[in-house]
């Protein structure tokens, strides 16, 4: 995995942890391929929390995630989210997000 992707995923995990107010967990404790939603996951997020992820992607990369299929595909794991961002967001928005 390249450095860009690593930094992107770290920042996405940090922002989501902050957005959902999760305590006692660090980005390193969430695997890139781990499921994000469900009872037996690191963050134990439910479907309402998906909105926080949607907001992070919209605000930082101007990416719209609409429709149940799109969100379920993309929000399977942080790796999938990262790949989606790298594929669809502008290079500048990714750079500026990572450097925040």
């Amino acid at each position: 995995m390249n450095e860009n992707m690593n930094q992107l995923l770290f920042k996405l995990k940090s922002d989501l942890i902050e957005a959902v107010g999760a305590k006692n967990i660090t980005p390193d404790e969430i695997g890139n391929e781990d499921q994000i939603f469900g009872d037996n996951t690191a963050l134990e997020l439910d479907s309402l929390d998906a909105l926080e992820l949607v907001t992070i992607l919209e605000q930082n990369f101007d990416l719209k995630i609409n429709g149940m299929k799109a969100s379920r595909d993309i929000f399977q794991s942080f790796n999938k989210i990262g790949l989606h961002v790298l594929e669809h967001a502008s290079e500048n928005s990714v750079k500026s997000y990572i450097s925040q």
Binding site: G21, N66, A70
Partner: protein, 330 residues
């Protein structure tokens, strides 16, 4: 299931199935167009009617009406069949498959065994396409899945004959034939007129007035209900807006897509402008949802009054779009 292409990758099941059934007959009607022509955008709030313990809030028209209105307005003959007997329902489906007719079916998602358990919930208006039958199993195309899936007959039967609100009663639907010509502008105009009239109707539980009623209720919930119940009610409002194939923001993004596509096809500046306005409204609905989730989960300093205020402001912006369409397009 690589032999079968999933026909129904879509943002919303009814518009997705409509889109594929039309495509099969050589008619190109995108999902947003199906929503718009079928006057699928709506809002109603019925506080006295509870679904799974929560007051009923809907951001779209009654299930099945998008498909029917699309067919009627585009001059497409369609057949809808409902059954009292499960046996007759299964026999008829097999008969249609034998005749190689692509069939849509209304189901309860909870009983579809190919859907992972964590995604299942009781919802009686989930639409799928039946592609074929292999042995006793059905091959189905579902908007929730990447690929076509195998559905055992028992599972499909339970899903088609589930009881409760919006019970499917084994409903099957398919297209017969269509007239080659229709006036595109007329069709778009009819779809928009019905939506605009319904949304602006001065009745407390329908359209913009219903949004205002909901805003009043949200303000009352923390005082009138237990904290847990108030949170459940608010969460339900958000779930109806952002889940079950709404295309996001209670179908407002998809409707903006319809206005944009129609505006481009008809070279109509008013529709393009309305599409931009509706997209901004959709953004506000999404902000409303984010704010509400913050309150439900006690993550933000916002309270129920803030959520109610945001809803009022969003309702005013949405009302302005309908008034704009009324003055500049209808």
């Amino acid at each position: 299931m690589s032999d079968y292409k999933n026909r129904n990758v879509s943002a919303h099941c009814e518009t997705g199935v409509t889109n594929i059934l039309f495509e099969e007959k050589g008619l190109k009607v995108s999902e947003p167009m199906a929503l718009g022509i079928g006057s699928g955008l709506f809002f109603f709030y019925l506080p006295f009617l509870k679904v799974m313990g929560n007051p009923l809030v809907s951001y779209r028209s009654f299930p099945g009406t998008i498909f029917k209105k699309c067919c009627q307005r585009l001059g497409v003959t369609y057949i809808v069949e409902r059954f009292r007997s499960k046996e007759k329902g299964a026999k008829r489906l097999d008969n249609l498959i034998q005749k190689k007719i692509l069939v849509g079916a209304q189901t309860n998602i909870y009983w579809l065994s190919y859907i992972p358990k964590k995604f299942r919930f009781h919802f009686n208006a989930h639409n799928i396409l039946i592609l074929d039958k292999k042995g006793s199993d059905y091959i189905v195309s579902d908007p929730l899945l990447e690929e076509a899936a195998i559905c055992p007959p028992r599972s499909l039967e339970k899903a088609r004959f589930s009881k409760g609100p919006l019970a499917p009663k084994g409903m099957l639907y398919y297209l017969k034939n269509h007239s080659k010509d229709f006036d595109y502008e007329q069709v778009v105009r009819k779809g928009i007129r019905e939506t605009v009239n319904r949304m602006l109707v001065p009745m407390p539980f329908i359209g913009i007035r219903a949004m205002k009623s909901l805003s009043k209720s949200i303000r009352k919930w923390p005082k009138a209900l237990s904290q847990r119940r108030a949170r459940l009610y608010l969460a339900s409002v958000v779930r109806m807006q952002e889940e079950i194939g709404t295309g996001g923001a209670g179908f407002r993004y998809m409707y903006a897509g319809f206005l944009n596509e129609s505006g481009t096809k008809l070279n109509n500046k008013a529709l393009i402008e309305a599409s931009k306005q509706m997209e901004a409204v959709a953004d506000e609905w999404r902000n409303f949802a984010t704010l509400a989730v913050g309150v439900c989960k006690e993550r933000s300093k916002a309270n129920y009054d803030d959520v109610a205020d945001h809803l009022l402001a969003t309702a005013a912006r949405e009302e302005a779009v309908y008034k704009y369409l009324k003055e500049n397009f209808l």
